[in-house]
């Protein structure tokens, strides 16, 4: 019978704590747009012993795929040349109207953007930034790609460091936006789109007469067998999502081919240069892949990539 005052009191406490939480949440949104805070110090909480134990057993696990920028740098380092014909034409942007196609092509266009910019292709860099921006807008990624980003890009078009920084910031803003808004499935789809585009460019840059055993680009393509586990782990975290389910099917088809490639690695020995303080992880890798397997891999990547872009 005396439950009403208790209930009222409980509601009052709940309302107060809800208000505190909402205010805290809103203020962080403000800081997101203004980017004015330099440090983060979250309030400490006084919690009972059981909760302390629970918190201590929690473990965060991250799976990280190569970003579009890293993919482009790997390609260049491996001796890739620039070939604009391999990129997804920017005129295709109007084709992408679903969240899945926009997310895949945000990854694809950002990889094309990174690739073009690393080879100092100024007009293509601007065009692919515009295409990426359209995909981001379609996905509702407010503030991920600033309104003035293309102008900033044009103003610094001959300064590769600034351009790299703008691209890196664009990628980070997009991925963190998805994380902040609990849209991890889309974040994963963007990354997989970029990863497939990197494979597509790489496999098409390897000439038909190339020596598959002594080709750095081929080696980097084969290395993606190592990344495949990370791709699956990321996708499996969002396997309830229908769009992700379709992509898992595609990646399984790739896995079936990668499984035919054998990679064995010797024990890693870290050696640090005392002057530069840079450590080299010394190890040797043995790879076994038939030309037929490589051909199958190239064909499958083409089918999947065209399925994403056409």
């Amino acid at each position: 019978m005396n439950s009403t005052p208790v209930l009222r009191k409980a509601i009052k406490y709940f309302a107060i704590s809800l208000s505190i939480a909402v205010i805290s949440s809103c203020s962080s949104d403000k800081s997101k747009t203004s980017d004015s805070d330099d440090t983060v110090t979250l309030d400490s909480l006084e919690i009972n012993e059981q909760l302390i134990q629970d918190v201590k057993t929690v473990k965060e696990i991250f799976y990280s795929l190569p970003s579009p920028l890293e993919t482009a740098m790997i390609l260049k380092q491996a001796g890739a040349k620039y070939n604009e014909e391999l990129l997804n034409p920017v005129d295709n942007v109007s084709r992408y109207v679903t969240n899945k196609s926009m997310a895949l092509n945000l990854g694809i266009y950002t990889t094309d953007l990174s690739y073009a910019s690393l080879f100092d292709q100024t007009q293509a860099t601007i065009n692919y930034m515009n295409a990426s921006k359209k995909m981001a807008e379609g996905l509702g990624i407010l503030n991920a790609i600033d309104e003035d980003i293309v102008e900033r890009l044009e103003a610094n078009i001959n300064n590769r460091d600034v351009i790299m920084d703008i691209i890196s910031e664009t990628i980070m803003n997009s991925s963190s936006f998805f994380e902040e808004n609990d849209r991890q499935a889309l974040s994963t789809i963007v990354l997989v789109g970029g990863w497939v585009e990197g494979l597509y460019i790489a496999t098409n840059l390897v000439g038909s007469d190339a020596d598959l055993e002594n080709n750095e680009l081929v080696n980097r393509i084969i290395d993606q067998k190592l990344t495949l586990t990370t791709v699956f782990n990321l996708l499996n975290q969002n396997q309830d999502n229908e769009d992700v389910k379709n992509i898992i099917t595609n990646v399984n088809e790739l896995k079936a081919i990668f499984d035919k490639i054998e990679i064995s690695t010797s024990k890693i020995e870290p050696v640090t240069d005392e002057e530069t303080k840079v450590t080299t992880l010394k190890s040797k890798t043995k790879i076994s892949m038939s030309p037929k397997t490589y051909s199958e891999l190239k064909d499958k990547i083409k089918v999947i990539r065209n399925n994403y872009t056409l």
Binding site: L42, E70, M172
Partner: protein
């Protein structure tokens, strides 16, 4: 009864904390941590979480032959020191920052591509206090083109 109300407050705050924390974490990583990667270029990937002292995290990533990498572990000032190790897939330790005075960065390159594990742990604060400190921890990767290019 007072305890019930306290529990309600704590649970509500815990429920909303991640939203505030994630946004703050991005700002923290962008404004504070990214600067420390120079002269390496940030790869653009965002790996950050709110961690509490004593809590650990792991990150799995393939690193590629021929690339120069910088790993930078960035924790908010309120947190105790962060221990981090780099392990191979068999969990052999390749780097341990406890041997480098808890340095929060490590520069390396690879002769052959490898999947590595970055394992980190926020040290527990000293004393028997029940007050746990939480803060943003970001794991950032910088990449650099070879100087020979």
């Amino acid at each position: 009864m007072k305890k019930i109300f306290q529990v309600i407050i704590i649970l509500t705050l815990i429920a909303f904390l991640p939203f505030a924390g994630k946004s703050q974490c991005k700002s923290f990583a962008k404004k504070v941590c990214k600067l420390e990667l120079s002269p390496y270029i940030h790869d653009g990937n965002f790996n950050a979480a709110i961690l509490t002292e004593g809590e650990d995290a792991e990150l799995y990533k393939t690193f590629y032959a021929g690339q120069n990498y910088r790993i930078y572990i960035c924790g908010s000032d309120a947190l105790p020191e962060i221990e981090f190790q780099v392990l191979d897939v068999n969990r052999n330790v390749l780097y341990d920052n406890r041997k480098s005075n808890y340095s929060n960065l490590w520069d390396f390159k690879l002769e052959a591509s490898q999947q590595l594990i970055i394992s980190l742990r926020v040290k527990s604060g000293e004393g028997e206090s029940e007050e746990l400190i939480s803060g943003c921890v970001a794991i950032l990767f910088g990449i650099k083109e070879n100087a020979s290019e």
